[in-house]
């Protein structure tokens, strides 16, 4: 490994990326537009139904509170998860009929009305538990996924597609004729794209946060670490695609094959929880699922790196496999 040669290729690649203004601005504007668009689309029209989580055994189903109309009563198995949902305004109230307790969020108007209804209709006195927490909007839930998706496109096309183009038009052949070796070339491509992705993700985050003000309960450095490992794994996947292909059309097809399932089955746009178990299992195969889940846990739940270590380990193993495969398969021509 000759660092002078590595650096020369790195610098040239950075310049190429930063000077391709059209591609660069699209790279930044696209996710910003998505996030801001969704923030507006889901900002008004809250649905009007009241949602109450109920911890109960069968014999108290005749409780008069439970006979009220226009309230959706949802049986709860896991009370602590339900409490988290109340604190995030995903449930308006949690009621434990066995122990005569209820939980509401002090900043929820619906919780206030439900409390009044409960006290006026029920026979028993219930003890009140207060929870606090801001509402989790769809856009808060969406942003980790959109950032992950942006990294995926940037890594796969910026490395995979570009190396195939270099091979087709002869840039690689000319470089092969110099003392530059494959390790220096590939690691320079990887390093260049990695820092550029992290810079762009930071710009998008800061830029959209200015308008939307995301919920962020975790540590920014931890989030950055998840994104760094995630981007690394995606770039390594790009190296596998780029290892041999000469045709840009075929590369485009293969990149589509990699990106489309990830876009829809990695929980970027909607939670995988309600889907068929088979689909959920499939989702675990994709690096984007682990990036999105880990980033979401840090942002929404304040998780630490230790809490998401499982996802990080999977990403690390995937990266290693992709990297070895990409390096092993790589041909200049």
């Amino acid at each position: 490994m000759n660092w002078r040669r590595f650096l020369a290729v790195l610098v040239a690649r950075n310049k190429e990326f930063l000077r391709d203004r059209a591609a660069l601005s699209w790279n930044i504007m696209f996710p910003v537009l998505i996030v801001i668009g969704f923030a507006f689309a889901f900002s008004g029209g809250d649905n009007t139904e009241y949602k109450v989580g109920v911890v109960a055994s069968d014999h108290n189903a005749d409780n008069p509170f439970m006979q009220l109309n226009y309230i959706q009563f949802i049986p709860v198995d896991n009370p602590s998860l339900a409490q988290t949902k109340v604190s995030r305004h995903q449930l308006d109230m949690l009621i434990d009929l066995n122990n005569n307790r209820y939980w509401i969020n002090d900043s929820s108007a619906k919780g206030y009305f439900l409390e009044r209804l409960l006290n006026s209709s029920a026979h028993n006195r219930y003890s009140r538990e207060m929870l606090t927490g801001p509402q989790i909007r769809y856009v808060d839930w969406l942003i980790p996924g959109v950032l992950g998706m942006n990294m995926m496109f940037s890594a796969l096309y910026g490395v995979g597609y570009v190396i195939v183009r270099y091979r087709k038009n002869g840039v690689l052949k000319r470089l092969k004729a110099t003392p530059l070796n494959a390790l220096e070339f590939l690691s320079a491509q990887l390093a260049s794209r990695l820092w550029l992705i992290l810079a762009v993700v930071t710009i998008i985050y800061v830029g959209t946060n200015f308008f939307v003000n995301f919920i962020m309960h975790g540590n920014y450095l931890h989030l950055l670490a998840v994104f760094a490992l995630g981007a690394f794994s995606m770039i390594c996947l790009g190296l596998v695609v780029a290892a041999r292909l000469r045709s840009e059309e075929l590369a485009d097809g293969m990149l589509n094959l990699a990106t489309w399932p990830m876009m829809f089955l990695s929980g970027v746009w909607f939670s995988l929880d309600g889907l068929h178990p088979w689909v959920q299992k499939l989702g675990q195969v994709f690096p984007l699922t682990h990036i999105t889940t880990a980033a979401r846990a840090i942002m929404l739940d304040g998780a630490s790196l230790g809490d998401v270590a499982g996802h990080l380990a999977i990403l690390a193993v995937m990266s290693l496999i992709f990297l070895l495969l990409g390096a092993f398969l790589f041909r200049w021509e």
């Binding site: 002078r4 040669r5 650096l7 020369a8 290729v9 610098v11 040239a12 690649r13 310049k15 190429e16 000077r19 391709d20 270099y166 038009n169 002869g170 840039v171 052949k173 000319r174 470089l175 092969k176 004729a177 110099t178 003392p179 530059l180």
Partner: protein
Amino acid sequence: MTPLLQVRQLSKHFGSVTAVKSVSFDVPKGMCLGLLGPNGAGKTTTVEILEGISKPDSGEILYKGEALGKQFRDQAGIMFQSTALQEFITVAETLQLFSQLYSHTTPVSELIKSCSLHEFLDRDTRKLSGGQRQRLLLAIALINDPEIIFLDEPTTGLDPQARRNFWALIRSIKARNKTIIMTTHYMEEAYELCDEIIIMDHGEIIAQGTPKSLLARHYNDVILQLPLPGNLPDFTHTTGFQVQQQDTLLELRSSDVNSTLNQLLALGMSLDGLRIRERTLDDLFLELTGKEMRS
């Protein structure tokens, strides 16, 4: 003295096609060697094997008496037939990039001067004209101050003006006692620049020598051209020349111009519009390969 480059029994197949068949030659230091041949003759394959870009199936290449090793890439100057350069970087930055890839380099400022790059130094490589582009690619080939330089069809696609400028550059490289191996489609180019030429066809060497010696060896005649007369005379009793009828021309190959002209006059032919030309490499090439060079 050992030749700078020795090529022994080089062969290369692509599937069932034999691209290069048992080719051997020597290149002494300071020589400009031209590889000529029709498309698909094996020129580029041969050159790319010499450059170390592709591996031969069999055969041996010795550089300064030793087998080609990895360090040869650091020592050879290479200009491919068609090369894209990285986009969105300028000519100066491209030179900078390549100069950092080699361990021993010519100062970039010297290359800018010798290849006349100063006018478009800050231009994006995508916006260069054909001639500017070839000059930049030549500068890149010279960037590691190589003793041996490979040029694969360096002037293909250039206009006559740009081609002549490029020839001047190659002559200036020759003047510095560099060894050059070039392929070309243009006989005139080979005649102007090369000390020795090798004509290849179907992967084999079919002729080799200095341009003048090749012509002298194959030809002792000149070509006389006349406009095709209305009534073709009877040539059955003439001697010392052959007649060929082209579209609108009568072509006569003669080793004794005086005798031929006298016989034509005796047949009552008009010599108006007569042209006499010497044999060129083009003729030799067509005769040896049976193919049109520029097709």
